[in-house]
Structure formats: structure tokens, C-alpha cells
Symmetry: D2
Subunit: 393 residues, 4 copies
């Protein structure tokens, strides 16, 4: 069925003799076309235009829940073939790398199958609801020798990348304290109906839903977490059900965590998915011996820097607007102050993935490091259950 698409495929960044080069292009498969699936599709469509040096890609095969839907999405997203069965995508010999964007509970089976099929994998975060599954995925990735990376897009932000550079060059001296918060309000309405995210089967709550994002930032900026002490809370004890009754909420929308990093830094993490007014806040405060840095994802095109090398009468937080001097903003817009958007982060991530496929240095959270993030999240949950500090490893 999908064969009928074959010669009408869309080649991005094709060079002159496409027929000759086809084998050198990276063949892309996409499984799942929701929020993140579309986000991957936008990235795959844009990466060659924004980053011509990144390499060439072909959008080969798209998989969705049924064939009709798959065909519609393939047409929208520019994929050559469409299938109602995800296995057709990972078995397609023209597919070199699979974008896996299905709901988290499907990740283990699909990811391991794709790796076994010899595909590289770009899997949305988190790896899996159960830690054992995440371990199996990481083991499978190790065995396969394939590239297996996770979609932690915030680490790609030019502002976050620049913060990393500043830390590396000790612009604020030695870091001694970090606070990070992630808050949204999509579950804040107490009148909203009970749904699957309120069931224990969906996980702990904000902890696994959100904390992996801040932890990805901590991972790339400061390294691993050593010990955790976690508290969790429910803003609403129960909720209305579709039939007009009320049902007890089983997950925790709020989590607050004391942490010690392996480097010795004392840190705190706070997440809340019922925080009215917060839309996409990831607020970072980094304190060092010679200054401090602030960042908030809701104003992702700026960062705040305070350094003691400024004259005392003029010390203050600088609001630095990202621009061409902050990698890789200039590939999107050559003028400063024009701003990148959320989808642009995924385009950068896609560039990093292509770099890794080509054996070049890249900045991504792979399955090994991703597993450490999830190990940390599960340690936090255990800490809450046992009401005590837990060593992550």
C-alpha cells in the first residue's frame, strides 16, 4: 500500500543528482503525529534549510494508528509512504532513523523493536513509565550500537547553551547553589473532569510528567544528582467524573525536592502542573562565587547574568537577548533580538541528531544519560513514599 507513494517522496536538501545521492541521504520514519509528532515533522522539514551543513534527509515513511489517518498526515507532513502499522515503518529498509512520538507507555516495545531492526532512534521523553522498561531500552540501545537519543529540547535553547558556556568559563565562579522550577496550569482547574492523568497508572504526577525536563537541564549544566528528599501534594483531593460523581485523584500535581548533586551543589526542584498563571515556566537560578544566572523558559529569548567583575555601583542583572553570537541562533535569523520559538528548539535538536549520526560531536541526552534522569525521578518518588533522603544510585 505504501509503495504507491514511493516515487513521489519528498526529498529535503537534495543535491543535483538525487537518484545517485538517495543512498547517502538519511531516511526518516515517523511514528506518532500528535503534539510531538508534528513538532518532529516540522523539524525534519526545516532542518536542511536552516542548517544546510547538517546533511540531507528524506522523509520516507509515517506510521499512525490507522492507514487513512496515516495517509492524511503523510500528505500534510511530506512523507513519501504511510502505514497504519508502526512495524511497517521500522521495518522499512529505506528508513535509517525513527522519530518515536507515541504515548510513553508504547515507547518500550516500539523503541526496542526499532533498535533490533537496526534503526537509529529519536525517542520523545521520558523513556518509559516503568523504570525497568527504561532499563531494558537502555540495554537494547547499548547492544544495538545504534544512536538512541531522547527529545529533551530545552537543552538545545541558545540561552541554555550560552549558560553552559558561561559556566564552563567560570563566568560566575564556582557554582554553589541551584534552584529550578517548572510550572504550568493545564491541570489547575478544579472543575475539570477526572481523566487518565489523575490515575495512578499514569505515574506519580508532576514528578514524572515534568521533572525530567528540569533534570535534563541539570544533567547538561551540572551533572548527575546524588541524593534527593521529596515531598508531593495534591491540590485537589477528588474530581468530578463524566457521570457526575466524584473520584479520588491518585496522582500528585505538586512535587518539591531537596537535592544534592554529585558535584556537591545544593539544589532544589519544584514542579507544579496546577499552577494557575504559569504556562511554560522553567525557571532556573544559578548562584556562584562570582555571580549568578537566571533563566525562564516563558521568556526563552533572554537570560539574566550578574557578575561581580562589574563596578559595584553598576552591578545588576543584565538582560541578555539572544542573537547571532549565541549558537545556533544565527542560522535562523542573522539579526539579534528577533527571537526563536519552541519549534526552533526541535530543529536544533534535529541538527544535533544528524551530527551524531554522522559521527560528529553533538549535544543530546542519549539513552544512557536519559536512564539516569529517570533513575533520579524514581528515587524522588521513593523518597516521598519513605519520607526520607534517598541516594539515587
Amino acid at each position: 500500500m505504501s509503495d504507491t507513494f514511493h516515487f513521489k517522496g519528498k526529498w529535503i536538501n537534495q543535491s543535483i543528482l538525487v537518484s545517485e545521492l538517495e543512498s547517502e541521504m538519511v531516511g526518516v520514519g515517523l511514528v506518532g503525529t500528535g503534539f510531538m509528532g508534528k513538532c518532529h515533522a516540522i523539524a525534519w522539514n526545516a532542518v536542511g534549510t536552516v542548517f544546510p551543513e547538517a546533511g540531507k534527509v528524506r522523509l520516507v515513511h509515517l506510521g499512525e494508528a490507522n492507514e487513512e489517518f496515516a495517509r492524511r498526515r503523510a500528505a500534510e507532513f511530506g512523507f513519501a509512504k504511510a502505514s497504519g502499522d508502526w512495524r511497517a515503518v521500522i521495518d522499512d529498509p529505506e528508513v535509517d532513523v525513527v522519530s518515536l512520538t507515541t504515548p510513553n507507555q508504547f515507547h518500550p516495545e516500539m523503541a526496542i523493536a526499532a533498535l533490533k531492526a537496526g534503526k537509529h532512534l529519536w525517542c520523545e521523553k521520558p523513556m518509559a513509565p516503568a523504570f525497568a522498561d527504561a532499563e531494558a531500552m537502555a540495554a537494547s540501545a547499548r547492544r544495538s550500537g545504534k544512536v538512541a537519543v531522547l527529545g529533551y529540547n530545552y537543552i538545545q535553547s541558545p540561552a541554555i547553551r550560552h549558560i553552559g558556556k558561561l559556566l564552563d568559563e567560570q563566568a560566575i565562579g564556582e557554582v554553589n547553589h541551584v534552584r529550578i522550577e517548572m510550572d504550568e496550569d493545564f491541570m489547575a482547574d478544579p472543575e475539570a473532569l477526572f481523566f487518565w492523568k489523575h490515575e495512578a497508572s499514569s505515574g506519580y504526577g508532576a514528578l514524572d510528567d515534568f521533572a525530567v525536563h528540569p533534570l535534563s537541564l541539570i544533567s547538561v549544566l551540572f551533572g548527575r544528582v546524588a541524593r534527593v528528599m521529596c515531598d508531593m501534594a495534591k491540590p485537589y483531593k477528588d474530581r468530578v467524573t463524566a457521570d457526575g460523581g466524584r473520584r479520588a485523584v491518585e496522582t500528585y500535581d505538586i512535587a518539591s525536592v531537596l537535592m544534592r548533586l554529585e558535584s556537591g551543589i545544593a539544589a532544589t526542584l519544584a514542579v507544579n502542573r496546577s499552577a494557575w498563571g504559569r504556562k511554560g515556566r522553567i525557571a532556573l537560578q544559578i548562584f556562584g562565587s562570582k555571580g549568578s544566572i537566571l533563566f525562564d523558559q516563558e521568556r526563552a529569548n533572554e537570560l539574566q547574568l550578574y557578575v561581580t567583575s562589574d563596578r559595584p555601583t553598576e552591578q545588576g542583572y543584565r538582560t541578555i537577548l539572544i542573537g547571532p553570537q549565541h549558537d545556533p541562533y544565527g542560522a535562523f535569523v542573522p539579526a539579534p533580538g528577533h527571537g526563536l520559538g519552541f519549534n526552533d528548539l526541535k530543529i536544533i535538536e534535529c541538527r544535533e541528531l544528524l551530527a551524531r549520526l554522522a559521527g560528529r560531536p553533538s549535544r543530546m541526552v542519549d539513552f544512557t544519560e536519559g536512564l539516569e534522569i529517570e533513575r533520579t525521578v524514581h528515587a524522588m518518588a521513593r523518597s516521598f513514599e519513605q519520607q526520607k533522603w534517598i541516594e539515587v544510585r
Copy 2:
């Protein structure tokens, strides 16, 4: 030569039987591949994925200064054919619409030729350095019956669109005063060499370089300008030349304008391209009988609204983060607070263009309205020369 690309073209949003549908797709030509050329290319590549309902496009033919460069860019941007002669693009029968992104002085000849060749036109702003040329372009567009629109991307911003909605529904009552500023600092360094933007042949200075952007916002939000009183200034009288001498600067980096709109609103406009610290500021202050609205392009994902219907003790500017409820943010990201970037504005603009090509309502500045914007700019310059109020028409 460009024929060799023909069957290897890139189809965006193709549907099942591409061969049948090819004639229904919009064939795209791109002339120029600088800052704005790349921006158009990103938009053409993304529009179908972001806005599946917008219609299908084919990236047919790219023109650049020489064939080798054109071929390289075509490969990068995903165009099927490449030519070193822009006339090949506008003469290509497969091209339906031409993206014209060359330097402003080339617009008149190329735009008129494209319209005469029966192509629709998406021309970067401003129309032309000389008003007579802009008039000729508008006349040509009228005669052609083709769609001829300008790349005023800031009017596409979800925040600006929402401001328009708020004004329409009289959320701040009747508007009585408007202030708008546009400032950047790319010419602020007094040690930078004299270059072509310092020559009178490049235009008046910040006035034609910048003012068209704020005027496009005024045009869509408040209508036309009736009278203007303008002052212009040079921050630096002369500049170093490449040979170590100094040359008098002939253009004005600063312009300040008193205005009366046709609606009677008293307004001011200030532009400065030597404003250290400003990167992409377009700051709008709108005062009405029941409230006010603020916007700054450097924080383009938010707007500020003050309304007197709030209880007096809680009146204050609301910082509204744009989200899915602000058209068309949701097509990019389904969650609020994640932010769009500058390039996303061009994708929205591209959607509007496709809507106009399909005869649907759209929000664009066409050549007729664009001519009014340029008429206003030239009236401002005349006002400065004559040191008096000038009626725009």
C-alpha cells in the same frame, strides 16, 4: 540547465496521486536568498506541515546572482530548479507565485516583470527606494489582476492580531493616542566603517529603513496617516572610511515624527538604528477611553492589557502570554506559553498568501496599501526638509 531538476522536485503536502494534483499545487519561485530569502524558504518548507489546510505548494525554481550559487541554495532550500538569471524564474511556466527578496533597488524591475509574466508576487518590503517606482509597481499590480503583497511580517504576530481583535471589540474603548517606536543598534558603533547605508543614495536613513514596519502596524490596527511633522538627526556626523580617512554621513539614523491619523488619533513615531541596547524593539503604546495596550517585539510572545472594567484595587497591566487561544499560535504548538519565533511570523504570512491566492479572506498588506505606507514615509521626509507639517495625500 534547470530542466535537469524537474522530476526531482520537492513537493510539500503532496497527496496520494501527486502526478494528478501537480497542476493544483501552487508552484513557487524564489528570487534572492539572503536574510529574507532564507526566511521565505523556511516558510515555504514549513507552511504545509504547520497549516495543512492552507493548500499544497511545490518549490519549483530558485534564482540567484550566478548559477553555481543558485544550485547550492536550491539544494539547501529544496527547490527543484536553479538559475543564475532571475528572468528564468519568472518565466518558468510552472511557477505561479514569486517570492521576491532581492535588495530594494531591484524590486521595481523584477516585480513589474513578474506581474507582466502573469505571476503572483510576494515582495519583501519596502516596495522601492523611489516613490515613483513604488507607484509604478502598484499600477502594474492593479493592471495585472494578480495578487501582489508585501512581506510585512509583524502584522502576522499572534500578539498583534489579538491586539487588533481587542481594538475591534472596543476592549479599551475608543483609542485616542498611540505611540510607536522601532529601535535597533546595528549602526550604533561610531567606530564602524562608512558603508552604503550612510550614502544618500540608500535613502533617508532609519525613516525608510525602519518606519515602514511601525507604519504597517498602524495601517492594520488604526488605518491611514493624515498629516506628519518629522525631525531627523545624525548621531555621528562622519565616519572612518576603508582608506583611513573620514567621510560625512549622509543619512539620518534617528527620526521622530508627530502624526495625526485619518481617524483623528494623535500619534508619535520614533525610529533609531543607532540605539545601543535595542535589538529588535518595536514598542507600541495604545491608549483608549477604557484602557490601554502595550507591546514590544523584543518580547513578542506577550502583550500588556489594562482595562478599567477590572476592580480599581486590582487594576494593572496584565502580561498575557500568547497561546492556542490566540490565532494561529495553536497550529505551531498546542500548549500555551511555549513561544513562537521570528521565522514563524513568515510561516503565518505564507499561510495568508496562500489564502489570498485561493480567494479566501487574508491579512496582508498589498501593493495598494503598501504604496500608502511609502507615501507616508516620503511625506515625513518632505516634512523634515521643509520643517513643517505635511498632509500625506
Copy 3:
């Protein structure tokens, strides 16, 4: 009558043998006890505690519209004597300096009488509604040889003072452009009744009501204004009267001005007293060859500084919170970031006045410089009437 208060007066900063020192203390008279009168009273009560080195004062005599009211206020404000006739205050031999805080139209008669009576004068701004009266006041001050200064408190702000220092040391190089705005919303309600500020007899409108404040800042930071081009507008043409009718508004709530300073700086001024949402905004933008400075009175405890000496990747506006290193913040609070309030500005002003009385250097707008400010305002009004640029002198 007021004699009965004599021995019960309040001495601020008295030293051990008050009776001996009384003659060395500055005797204070206060005429008027409204907004500004209370503000002066707070300053006179606090100045000795906050600035022990400033000198000693005695609160001698308070004048109000009638004796009963005067007595009540004298008791509240700590003045020893009270009179229902302002002449009793300026004739009191124990009074050395008169705080004049009555409505503007009373300033000329009272100020000239006080100067003739040999008193120093601390007069609230502006000097007088009519320029001829202001001229007479300045002439009287010159003849008297007494200290005659105006209550331009914003020039006392530690942030503004520090901006002055930064400009003096060329921290942002040579200033080439300045924009200043002052906006409030106390007249913004279109349903509010017609009152005296809508009558032409009250003056031009926002121009004389507000513009003197920004002009005082321009005066101390950049010097005098050379030429002006002004536009004025009425947000509401008429208003409801107490009897339910409507009456045409005669004053202009909005004024926008193009300016050239004597130093050659191109500047703009915008004032609006019907600007919904603005409460006490005085927003200053200063652009120089090496940086820029921003300030907003609504956040008076901070200023923004951008300098090109910062490394390009970290250039950005620094939000500098005023602290002990910014004169004279430390006299109020020894710790930074705690913030001063509006009344504290008047206490600083009072210290400056005491310094001037003692023959020490001080920072105040005296009647000579104040006259220049009012000359500028009247030139602006003439510019609007004649619709052309006007030379101030």
C-alpha cells in the same frame, strides 16, 4: 494668638542647650498643607534624623486658609505656631525659610512677598501659570539675594543622580538622543465630571501640568532646550457637567514635542494625563555612542544601563538596584535593595536646601533655572498655536 504656641514648639535635631542654639537653627514656615504641604512637613520632620549633618531646624509657623484648620495641621505636623493668614508666617521673625505649597496661582504674590520679607523660599513647582509672573518672581529672587528654589523632587532620586554621574564620566559615551515620557491616568475617565483643570484658565493642560517635571530632569542631566515643535490633543472633546449637561474641554491632556537641546541632542517629550494604566510614569531613554540608559519612575529604585564595554555575547541592559553606593540612599537604609519612596525624595531635597542655606554646594532648581523651564513650556505652547518650530530664547 500664635504666641501661645511659642514655648511648646518642636525642635528637630536640638543639641544640648537648645536655648543657646535656637538662633542657629533654621526656622521653618509652611504655607499650604495639601499633597505637597504634607510632603514638605514630612521632610522637615525627618531631615535631621536621616541627615544629622544637614543642620538643625525648628518648625516655627504654619499658615492655612483659616485659623482652626491651621491649628489642627500645626498640631499634626509639629509646628509651634499656626495662623489663618499666610502673611503672619512670612512676617514671623523666627521664620528663616518658607515652604510655599499653595495652588500655583497664589505663588507669585506669596513668593514675592516672602522674598521681600527677607525669607528664603522653597516653592513648589511650577512657579506660576503666567510666564510674566514667573519672570517677576525670578527678578524678585535675584534682587533679594535670598535662596529661592523649586520643589523639583525627581532630580533628587538616587537613580537620577547616579545617571548624572554616569553621564558625567561618559559611561555611555557622548549622548546623541533622548526620549522622555510622563504619563498618568488621573484624568483618563471620560465619565468624570468637567472640573477646573478642563478650563483654559488652568493653563494649557498636560503641558504645564506635567512637562516641567521631565524638563527638570533634562535641565540637570543635559542642559537647556533650544528649539521645540509641539502637538497637543484632547482625548475627550467635552465632558459631563454637574448639572447633567456637557461642556467643551478647553485644555489638552496630551502633548508631544520634538526638541533640540542647546547641546545639539535631538530629543522628544511626550506627556499624557489621560493615559489609562500609567500611574506615575516618567520614562527616560538616553542613547549615547557607547551605551544607553533607561529609567522609569514607576520603578524608581532601579535603572537600566547598557554599555558596549561588556563582552558582546553578554551585552544587555543591567537592572541596577539602588543601594548605599548610590548617594544618598545609605542615609535612609544601610542595606541595598530595600528601596526608597516618593516622600524620601523630598527629604533629600530638604537636605539640599539646607546645604544651600549654609552656603554648601547643592543640587536644586533655583528660580533662574526654573524660569528657563517655564520659558520652554510656554515656547512649546506657542509652537502648537503657530504650528511651527519655535526657538526657546
Copy 4:
């Protein structure tokens, strides 16, 4: 000796026949004249002018470490008598209320003595370094029947007061989560010398130095704390000593606390006195079922309110500038947006104290409630020592 001052005292808010009224005035004694002593003096001098209805006061007697210093300060601050012995102040029969602003370790002895001497007490926070001493002070206050209150000035802020009102009227529904931070950088310099605040004898560190302030806000806004789980950290392990050696730092500049309030609210507290860039930050985030509220003491004249009753497309944090409608701002300035300063908070506190002395309702933290705050701080320290959750009571 101090008698010589007697008839030269300073009467604030005296009314006509001072001699008759003297007995009705509140006689004030001040012990200590450092940062807080001067702050009290400013308040006592200003309270009658700012709040005429508050009652009359006389500045009777000032005590300092030696008589000469006491005399100088008395002259500066306007007190009638001066003594080098604090006991002379509390024994003075003309003194009704004692402002106690000496270093914390002197509080217990002086406070208890003052209460025993039948004086009302306005004691700076915290009560005492040792909890047993604080208990003794509270017991003494209870026995005395006198007013004994603490100088928690931040609870007096018009913004904090308005937040209290908003919470009371359920403007953001039922509160379910609170985060509070207090950060300064006066100990952030790693090169600064070892001093007494680094010694264990000074207390735990930031915990007792700072946490009482946020806890005072929690106390008035949300009630008492039930359980705590605390972590503490040292940014710098050792410091240079005056003799060029290095000495181990014994106190903790950073503390992070998980909390459950008696009301069930889950909260976090973070304090840091080595947080470069923070000058006087007390940042409060309050999340409820219908909105949220933000506050930061560094911008103390504004608060942020988000309510879900706003139309979804216009929901956003409102930046509310405090003004006359926010009690008691209007007593300082009748116009909005002009701003209060830190010292103004103490003037408000002084008004509250006078109200309590007069038996009227007032908003102050008395010794009973203050003891609960200190109990909570000590519970936090115990939690850190034992590495586990601690019940406060």
C-alpha cells in the same frame, strides 16, 4: 544628667495645650541606634505627621553604649534625654514604650527588664538566639500584661496587606501551594574576611538570620507551620582570617525547607545570604484554585495577580501598582504609582503599635506569635541535624 534635657524635649503631634496633654502622650524610649534604631527613630518622628489620627507621642529618652554617643544620637533623633545606660531608659517614668533595637543577644535581658519595669515593648526581630530565652521573653510578656510586639515590618507593606485582603475574599480561591524565597548577597564574596556571622555562636546561619521574615509573612497570610524538612549548605567551606590564615565557616548561608502548614498547604522556603545579585529579595508565589499571586520585595510597590475570572484570551498576571486604594499608602501620598520605601514600612508599623497601645485592632506579630515563628526556625534546624521531617509542636 539626662534631666537637663527635660524641658527641651521634642513633642510630636502636640496639640494646643501641651502641658495639659503631656500625660496623654505616649512617652517613647529608644535603646540602640544602629540600622534598626535609626529606622525606629525615623518612624517615631514621622508617625504623627503621616498618620495624624494615630495619637501623640513624645520622644523622651535614648540609650546607647556610652553617654557621649547617646547625647549625639539624642540630638540627631530628637530625643529629650540621653543615657549611657539602657536601664535609665527603661526606668524613666516618662517612658511608656521602649523601642529595643540592640543586637539580638541583648534582647532577653533588656526585654524582660523593660516588661518588669511596666513598659510596653517594641522589640526588633528575632526575639533571641536561644529558644529558651525567647520562651522566657514570651512568658514575661504574658505575665506583664503589657503590649510586647516584634518589628516584622514586611507584614506592614501595602502590597502584602492587599494580598491578605485578596486571600480573605478568596480572590484566588482556596490556596493549595506556596513558595517563598529570601535572598541577599551581603555574605556572597568568598574573599571577604571571616567574621562573627561565620561562628556557630551567632546561630545556624541564614536560617535564623533570614527565615523569620518569610515566616512572618506566612504567619499573617496562612497561619502556622506544622512540619518541616530542612537542608542547609555552606557555599564556602572556609574563609580568610584577619591574620592571613583560613578558618572553617561554622554557619550555613543557604537553607532550603519543605513545609506543611497547619492548614494543609504544601509550601517551600528557601533562603540564601550569599546569593550574588539579590539585594533584598523576598519572593512569594501563592497558588490557589482560582488564580495566583506573586510578590517580590525588591519591587515592593507592585504585586502580580492572576485570576481565572478574566476571559481566557486575556488571562495574565496583572502588575498592580500600589496606590491610595491600598491601605495605608494614601496617608503617605494621595496619588498612585509614586511608591513607598522601606522606612515607610516602619512608620506603618509604628501606627499599628500606637493602635494596639490604644486598644484598637492592629496588625503586629506579638511575642506569643513571634515565639511560634522562632519555634519553627529551631524545628527546621533540628530537622537538618536529624535529616528528617520534624513536627513543629
